[in-house]
Symmetry: C2
Subunit: 422 residues, 2 copies
């Protein structure tokens, strides 16, 4: 059970993996970070790419660029296919076998359809830039199609102008609000279809939106959403999704665009490690963020399940970031021959969600904020956490621009399927 | 042969079509502009999207947005499938039949492989945002792959680090220069592959680069390209292109990335109108920009072939723009019952091409400029012609930023094929 840490392999360059890598910058180790994407993605703002407020480049930055000056780190764009715990190696799609003294698995989560993966084609989720661009194309195309068919087939036009978001967690709430605003702002560019036919419906199985927030903030969020024209339906169970229709226990909805923001499924860390996982695929980790009985393997962020005073930590960026920093420091200590004793403790700064362009609900260190102050706080927090000054600068300028002009500079339909543009 | 113009249908929202539409803003007509894309594209800067200098949103703007305040114009995102000259109607893919009193065809051109369309899969061209994003992904992925294989298979790595541009017109020259700079700037982010193995090869069948420019400017351009590390090979005929190999009469080149900037093929205007076309598919138009014998049909821009003092006008933005303005004014006059007499005359402002980030060759109103002054002129001209203030502002900021920092904020690989990111 050697503690001699030399080669650290980190799988995943999200908030968790990247924080761990950076924390090891000055440690006497070789860091190898593997990701199947070439970029780190600021997922909390992904919905703004999907709704044509921000461009992909504003919320993503090449991983190599982030770590360019960290000489003890190398970046590999590849996909991990397995882990050999005994040999202490990671196998990748391109056939490499990477030995490790310590392995950090920060592979995040994807959306889960609770066993109904056939819904995915009708109700895509939002986890990658590709998801966001696909959704952006779908939303913008819907208005174009509505404009074309409205004369001959008003029902079809209404279907194209109806957008359903399933799940009222932060992503669902923010997405619904953003779609409502996008719908409003594009209408001025169309000649035939009418504002009145725009419908944005937010479906939530639970009793209230933003279940992880305080009750009064949930109520405020629901009110703000309705003010934006979003129909909020709580206690609504989706029983089926097909082309053009969402079936719920409260009746059917005819909609061409449906977005899935309900369930998440942790990545295959558990399978790689042949460990038991939770129903949603999470690997249980102890206070050192290691799965029970594994000396040199850490699982952090959305891939992990860690209980703090009775309840599991939420799958949000701050948790992943703090876990990454903890593991990075721990490994740095081990590499220097020290024996770390402190366990991981999550410092809960609070939760934030925005509803449209000038309202948000926030709870920071117990202080609740609503409306415009909340929105400012939300904006500041997000811009601040954006990696790379360039992105901060451009996002701020861009937001300012949008705020002042209501323009949608990013409203491009790019037909992402090859040859689709011909 | 009525002159009563009421319904004007414009096919294509490039420089030609959009200029015509705008010119008709105050005329007593109904303008319908049809495009299969939802955006107007600033094609002269497309190569900068392909080389990760600019984002799609910086060189494209929704057509609806451009014409939002022009009340007599409506925009339809659809594809034209045919024209009935006798009935004076345009048929679209979605099944619409649009009657016209005057038809303006401004459908541009696509690249042509001179009958070797099988080359397209190995040597894509650059006409749409989709082309540009595909090329960007290909170039960036090549370096990632080189980094992965360089230890085990240095030859493969060299092949991944070799980029061939076929055709040394403005697009080919600008692209080769930009790839050379991108290659240089990304190298600092990699740990294993070496600068020395980067090869950018520009192939030109003719005796010199930029054939449409003055001899000395061509020579300067070639020198500047070589200074950037581009291998310029003139008089080189491509005889075959396959996966990983370009065959020329000067020998084979092992390259994973090949870009086609050689031939263009005009769009199917000729077929729609059942008119004879040139070898490259252009429709011959007279001094009123109408095909011989057609009273109410105009063909402009890259789709048309118009001779001015002996030689055909080049397929560049200024020509399309001036043609659009001419037709717009002509139709406005006809709609007002006047009879326009003036024929189209192209005011040649000159030609511009840039080589890398601080050199360009330009000939404006007979004045030749080279090097940095030429580059400044080039930048100013392009930013000035960008449609929409927002784009101008952001492109300028972004360029300034790139210029000062050498950063590549847009270096994202997004796996555009559906599911490719999973």
């Amino acid at each position: 059970m050697s503690q001699a840490i030399k080669d650290v392999v980190i799988v995943g360059a999200g908030f968790g993996g990247l924080s761990a890598a950076k924390e090891l910058a000055k440690a006497p180790v070789n860091v190898t970070i593997i990701d199947q994407q070439n970029h780190h993605l600021f997922q909390p703002l992904l919905y703004q790419v999907a709704t044509a407020s921000l461009t992909p480049a504003e919320i993503a930055v090449p991983i190599r660029h982030v770590l360019r000056s960290q000489r003890n780190a190398q970046v590999i764009m590849d996909r991990v296919v397995g882990v050999d715990k005994d040999a202490q190696t990671v196998a990748t799609e391109s056939g490499r076998v990477l030995p490790y003294d310590a392995l950090v698995i920060a592979t995040g989560a994807r959306h889960s359809y609770f066993g109904r993966d056939d819904w995915a084609q009708f109700a895509p989720g939002l986890k990658t830039l590709n998801d966001a661009l696909g959704l952006r194309e779908k939303i913008l195309t819907a208005f174009e199609k509505a404009e074309i068919v409205v004369d001959g087939d008003p029902d079809a036009a209404r279907r194209f102008q109806t957008f359903v978001v399933v799940g009222a967690g932060p992503t669902g709430v923010e997405l619904a609000g953003a779609i409502a605003e996008l719908a409003q702002s594009v209408m001025r560019d169309f000649r035939k279809i009418s504002k009145e036919n725009n419908r944005i419906i937010l479906l939530e199985g639970g009793p209230r939106v933003l279940p992880s927030f305080a009750e009064d903030l949930s109520q405020r969020a629901a009110r703000d959403l309705e003010a934006l024209g979003v129909e909020v339906r709580t206690g609504a169970m989706v029983t089926d999704i097909a082309a053009g229709t969402v079936t719920t226990d409260q009746g059917d909805i005819a909609a061409e665009t449906v977005v899935w923001a309900a369930g998440v499924q942790a990545s295959p860390a558990g399978i790689w490690l042949s460990l038991p996982v939770t129903r949603s695929g999470h690997v249980e980790v102890d206070t050192t963020l290691r799965p029970d009985g594994l000396e040199n393997v850490y699982v952090i962020g959305d891939a992990a399940r860690h209980e703090a005073n009775g309840s599991p930590l939420p799958g949000i960026a701050p948790v992943a970031k703090q876990m990454g920093i903890y593991v990075g420091r721990r490994l740095a200590a081990l590499a220097r021959g020290r024996t770390p004793t402190r366990g991981f403790r999550y410092a809960d700064a609070g939760t934030l969600a925005t509803i449209g362009r000038n309202s948000a609900v926030a709870e920071i260190y117990g202080i609740k904020m609503k409306g415009f102050p909340g929105w400012l706080l939300w904006g500041a927090a997000h811009v601040y956490f954006l990696i790379g000054f360039k992105n901060r600068l451009f996002v701020m300028l861009h937001w300012l621009w949008l705020y002042v002009t209501w323009q949608r500079g990013v409203r491009l339909i790019m037909h992402r399927e090859p040859g689709g543009d011909v």
